[in-house]
Symmetry: C2
Subunit: 141 residues, 2 copies
C-alpha cells in the first residue's frame, strides 16, 4: 500500500489555523492525538493516537483506526472485540495536531478494554496528603 | 521548587488499571495528554499536554496548568487572556497516560487563542479527491 498523502503543515500560522486544507501536524514519532466521544451522549470515551495511515484509513472507511504505541501496529478499533466506532463527524484543532472523533459505538460497554463504556472511569481525588483515584460509582451504560 | 512527586507507573497491569493510586504514566518527553471539556455544556474545548509540574499545579490550585511544547514552559491556562479554567472534576484513563478535565471557563469565548470557545472549530470533509476542512457554522458561544 502506498503511504497516505496529506498536505504538509504550513509555516504560515494563518493558513494552518484558518485555512481550509487539512494539514495534520504529526509529531516527531509521526503521531497526532485522537479523542473519541460518543456522538449520542457526548461522553469522553478514549484518547489514542493516529499515524498517517490510521488517519487515512479512518477517513476512507468511516471507522476509527488508531496506532497502538505499545504494540507498534495499526489498530482498527473493535476489530476483535466488536466495539467498532463508526465516525459521525471528525474535527481538527487549531494547530492541527489533534483530531476529535464523534463516534457511534457498536458495542458501548466494551469501548475500554477493561469492559467499560469509557476509559475515564476513575476520578482523581486530592486530600489527606495522598493522591488517589476512585472508581466512578455511576453506571457505565 | 522541589520536583513534584507522583507514584511511579506500576508494572502490574491490574494495579495500574484498577488500583486506587494515581500513577501517571508520563511519556519519553515527560508528558501526559490532557483533554478539557466544558463542565456545563460537555463541549470538547482543547487537547494539551502536562508534565509532572503542570499536573501537580493543577491538582494543588484547582486551575488548569499545561506544558507548552512550543514554548517549552509551564503555562497556567488563561493567565494572560483571563480564560482561566477552574477544574470541577479530573479523571485519569485506564493506563494513566491521559487525564480528562471538566472545567468551568472564566471567559468561554477565549478558550482557543484564535478567539473561539473550542479549538475544534473545523470539520474534516473528504470528497472530490481532496481533503478539506470547513469552519463550523454553529455559533461558538
Amino acid at each position: 500500500m502506498a503511504p497516505p498523502v496529506f498536505s504538509a503543515p504550513s509555516t504560515d500560522r494563518s493558513e494552518q489555523e484558518e485555512g481550509s486544507v487539512l494539514r495534520p501536524r504529526f509529531d516527531a514519532n509521526g503521531l497526532i492525538t485522537a479523542v473519541a466521544t460518543d456522538a449520542e451522549t457526548g461522553e469522553l470515551l478514549m484518547v489514542a493516537h493516529m499515524n498517517a495511515e490510521a488517519l487515512e484509513r479512518t477517513i476512507a472507511t468511516g471507522y476509527a483506526h488508531y496506532w497502538s504505541r505499545s504494540r507498534r501496529a495499526l489498530w482498527k478499533k473493535g476489530e476483535s472485540s466488536g466495539a467498532l466506532q463508526h465516525v459521525r463527524e471528525m474535527r481538527v484543532d487549531c494547530d492541527q495536531d489533534a483530531v476529535w472523533l464523534r463516534v457511534e459505538c457498536k458495542r458501548r460497554d466494551d469501548t475500554c478494554h477493561t469492559g467499560r463504556t469509557s476509559c475515564f472511569y476513575r476520578i482523581i481525588q486530592a486530600g489527606g496528603g495522598a493522591l488517589a483515584t476512585v472508581i466512578d460509582p455511576r453506571p457505565t451504560g
